[in-house]
Symmetry: C2
Subunit: 233 residues, 2 copies
């Protein structure tokens, strides 16, 4: 059996009992590293205290760029390795930050493996859920829709989605940060938005006044929560 | 301190370590019951094994209807009671199914209490995250938005949101179930949608062919996941 395990964001407290029980009985755990030759993995760091000492750890580089050939080649080779382990009778896990079904590279693995081996996926706390609770900032109520938008879709597309909506989450805000802030000001959303950078890490920063955030103050992973029905104190 | 604790959906495995540690040190835990005079609470059932034996349990009726006067009156009286407990130096918890910041009645409490007492909110696994993982059904990838829509917004409004979107979650589908199914067929979404009723409960049912679901087969809490980029096997 192959287990795709969502470990939540940033710290061990966000891991669920189901994830802990699964981590504890694995023969092999694949951990993704962001850079070649690097052994450090954020996901591994989060779960290391929950692991069985007999579990074999396999660090593997998962490319995060958009070079499709390199990407597909790397994923195919990792999927093949996982498949061999599973077919050899091992219980094999893979850890993924946040939730496996929301903007996760785990979906590549799932696509490659699902016709060949049995797969159990375990959900995790996503960054926007974590940020909302940590800041006592409700996301959505009643009959309103909740829109989860990656800022990478571009500012003009973002604008079309946001106009007139009550509840919006904007993820991966960095490249077009200044344009996104201007868009929120244009839409009169500055009193019902918060910006969080590096959620749940030591370097976490929360801004409740979006007009006073500089691009230098935020990191690559920045999230904005908007709720027109929730005025910031 | 007051703790609003998201306990995830349906079973104890979805509870996070942070929620368990918090539950374990409470003096008082408020548990919501759906009906007057009833003691049974789904949220309480999920967490009961994680509680300290010294914790006092207070079952309180939280109206789920739309009678605004009755609703506001009930919430106000519960908020006052919580405030008294906290001001008396107690560590007070409140458990909520799924995540506290997504369509949760906890938001009423937060609004009433946030100017008066200190509040810590703990996120939980929502039903749509749980259903997606359990069915190996990815929700969203890359630059696509994810739309979370309550079916209670009405079928025509739903249609306007859904047209041309890749990734959509429709929650609380029951009253207009047949209309929603017809809408998905009109939008040619029948091969990339799954319907789940009673997620995580014993009575859970999953339908991968939406054309073959009768309204009699589903319960009040039914969720539909749609991803045009993920063909159902």
């Amino acid at each position: 059996m192959f287990y795709g395990i969502g470990v939540g964001v940033g710290n061990p407290g966000k891991v669920t009992m189901e994830a802990i029980d699964t981590l504890n009985m694995l023969d092999v755990l694949y951990v993704p590293t962001a850079k070649k030759e690097e052994k450090f993995s954020v996901a591994h760091e989060i779960v290391k205290d929950y692991l069985n000492t007999n579990t074999e750890i396999k660090s593997r580089h998962f490319p995060m760029n958009y070079d499709t050939d390199e990407l597909q080649c790397a994923w195919k080779s990792i999927a093949d390795e996982i498949m061999l382990d599973v077919q050899g009778g091992k219980k094999v896990g893979f850890v993924t930050i946040g939730d496996p079904m929301i903007y996760s590279t785990y979906i590549y693995l799932l696509r490659l493996l699902r016709n060949n081996i049995e797969i159990t996926t375990i959900p995790g706390i996503t960054s926007f859920l974590d940020i909302a609770s940590k800041n006592n900032f409700p996301l959505v109520e009643g009959e309103d829709p909740l829109l989860i938008l990656p800022a990478t879709m571009g500012t003009e597309r973002l604008r079309r989605y946001i106009t007139n909506e009550t509840s919006v989450v904007i993820m991966k805000v960095y490249k077009n940060f200044n344009e996104v802030v201007q868009l929120l000001i244009d839409e009169k959303l500055e009193n019902c938005s918060i910006v969080v950078s590096n959620s749940s890490k030591n370097e976490e920063v929360v801004f409740r006044d979006i007009k006073n955030v500089n691009k230098d103050d935020i990191s690559y992973f920045t999230t904005i929560l908007i709720n027109r029905k929730w005025e910031i104190k």
